[in-house]
Symmetry: C3
């Protein structure tokens, strides 16, 4: 139980992430800290939530997932530990854990209040360093949950765009764009399968039509668009050896429709 | 004594940082190398010095802080090891260690000359790989200081902008801007407290006036400016959920004044 | 044999690299994963090959070099393990290993086919996660080569620009530009030495002439150009405390000539 994953919006041009790692190693020299991503855009709660959902389960059982995207730092938003069957999650209660916890249900939620485990003096602007990192470090050393605060029942939800259905159309949207310009939608593979049920269909985006699901990027020619179920498990629109984001001038929120023929 | 922190301007688009880590692990497989930051702007001695000052003390006692921002590589500038009460610092003698060493005084300074601990052939352009990384690795294995070279008495200073005082005004400036656009000044919390002594005051920047110190970012409305003592321990001008750097068109050197009313 | 180096084009703004590390640690908790570089430009096989060539030998013997720049993911391109005297290399057979393997010859090549060591279900878009990371992890645990698939005899070559010679001229070109704007050419130090044989020579680039090889950057004045044998072991054109790329408006492919006087 010595792996701590790190997901923040602190970026890599300053010292914030390094300081958190120093704090962790000072408390638990045996901890192995692994970056999931520290380049989430500032205050990007949704992006962090989406990346966490698509990452957490690949880590060893017992991993402490430390997530600090925390625009409400210094306000009354709670700091929490969430235990699930296989993992611990530590972060602010602002929805950033919500998508992961829809996949793997919480078995216990703790409101972190015991300042015995904080770095003092606690700043009002960098709880990543002063609260979240030390708590994650003590957790990774095996300190039991009850030490950190009282049990609570609920966490803040995150708004995730709903799918719209009618008989012939499933309407979703782009929710995430990766470094390659791939457009990841909110249409997950199960929803898609259930909707098309073996029928012929087309996929529409930005006035263009794609008439099948490809298996890999290179089923399309170089610079040609395609749709597939990507490694996130969602319908994804891509361009082979190119950027679908540029090709379709798409952004988050761009509509993607599946239409039964 | 197996943690080595790394602070460089080598960036992450090339292999420089990875190669230094390879060199370290080849010498000390038990070393745990932690990045403080490798995205210091090229030749940014001041920025690195400022980040080091605000990071070093969060690491475990015995950590070797390896700092390579080295525009003078291949010249007569010295390579040094500095021992303090709790840490080792390894880097070029160009001022980059100076701000940290004003906080924690050197107990011994060694001019690194013994090429027994260098990677051969020693290049004239990448002492990070050929001198600093191997020396840090041997240090982290417990090799004693006297092996690396002779004791010296002084290090190069770094110019840090002075505060200007008159009876009613304390004049400082922006010395660092972080990824969020927060403007960190050279006015540290002790100097500020001593100056205002409980009097009413205002803070002036770029023609605007702030009339109090906030505790956290969210005391201001979204996109509104505020001043606070930030996690660096200095007076900081920020914009809640926004960039003070953009808001005030500020850059390094922009004046920040505290005026007693 | 627990070090795994990582060289990819996955970038740091998404979760791809973090997920690969999670997968590795789940299989081999004792693995130490070290990034060589994850910011290779998307599909940049040549750049990755060049960085690998200049990095691999600095790592401890037994290191598994995991290289995933894989525009052909999901096609018939092979996944391979290459054993050399001191290292293992794991990656797609698309030329990305070629430059390193010209320096240290393969002693065995395995075509990875045994899906017992894959993460299931295997996606068609992220073999870094589903095939390469788990195979590297099992290798780093000491699993022997024959488990992963059958021996094969050849790998794909990478096109590396040839040098052109006549009696008085050696014509090369820029093949890589680093973060500092240094222009690294395809003229390696041995080829250069053999060509100039102690004669006087000049170096020409973009209409400018440099009349000697410097030892370090600071032999030239600030913002002045120079040529030297850089830390890659190749002829390099640089600007002291500046960017040669900007100074010469140079890019990959820009001609660099050495002329005997």
């Amino acid at each position: 139980m010595n792996t701590i994953s790190l997901l923040t919006d602190f970026g890599l041009v300053d010292h914030f992430v390094g300081v958190m790692k120093g704090v962790i190693l000072k408390i638990n020299p045996a901890a192995s800290v692994v970056d999931i991503c520290n380049e989430v855009k500032p205050q990007g709660i949704f992006d962090a939530a989406f990346l966490l959902r698509n990452s957490y389960a690949y880590f060893p059982n017992g991993t402490v997932h430390l997530v600090v995207v925390d625009p409400g730092v210094g306000t009354e938003r709670k700091a929490v530990i969430v235990k699930t069957k296989n993992y611990f999650f530590v972060g602010p209660d602002n929805g950033v854990l919500d998508l992961a916890l829809k996949e793997e249900k919480p078995t216990k939620i703790i409101h972190i209040t015991n300042d015995k485990y904080f770095l003092k003096p606690v700043s009002d602007t960098f709880h990543g360093r002063d609260i979240f990192a030390p708590v994650a470090a003590y957790l990774s050393k095996g300190k039991s949950l009850s030490n950190f605060g009282k049990k609570i029942g609920f966490l803040k939800n995150l708004e995730f765009p709903d799918l719209c259905y009618d008989e012939k159309k499933l309407k979703g949207e782009v929710v995430y764009i990766d470094r390659f310009g791939n457009l990841i939608t909110n249409i997950d593979s199960r929803a898609l399968e259930k909707f098309i049920k073996g029928n012929k269909f087309i996929i529409k985006i930005s006035g263009c039509t794609l008439d099948k699901l490809s298996r890999g990027y290179s089923e399309a020619g170089t610079d040609a668009p395609l749709a597939l179920i990507g490694s996130f498990g969602f319908l994804e629109v891509s361009v082979n050896i190119g950027s679908a984001s540029a090709y379709f001038s798409a952004r988050k929120g761009t509509a993607v429709e599946v239409e039964i023929l």
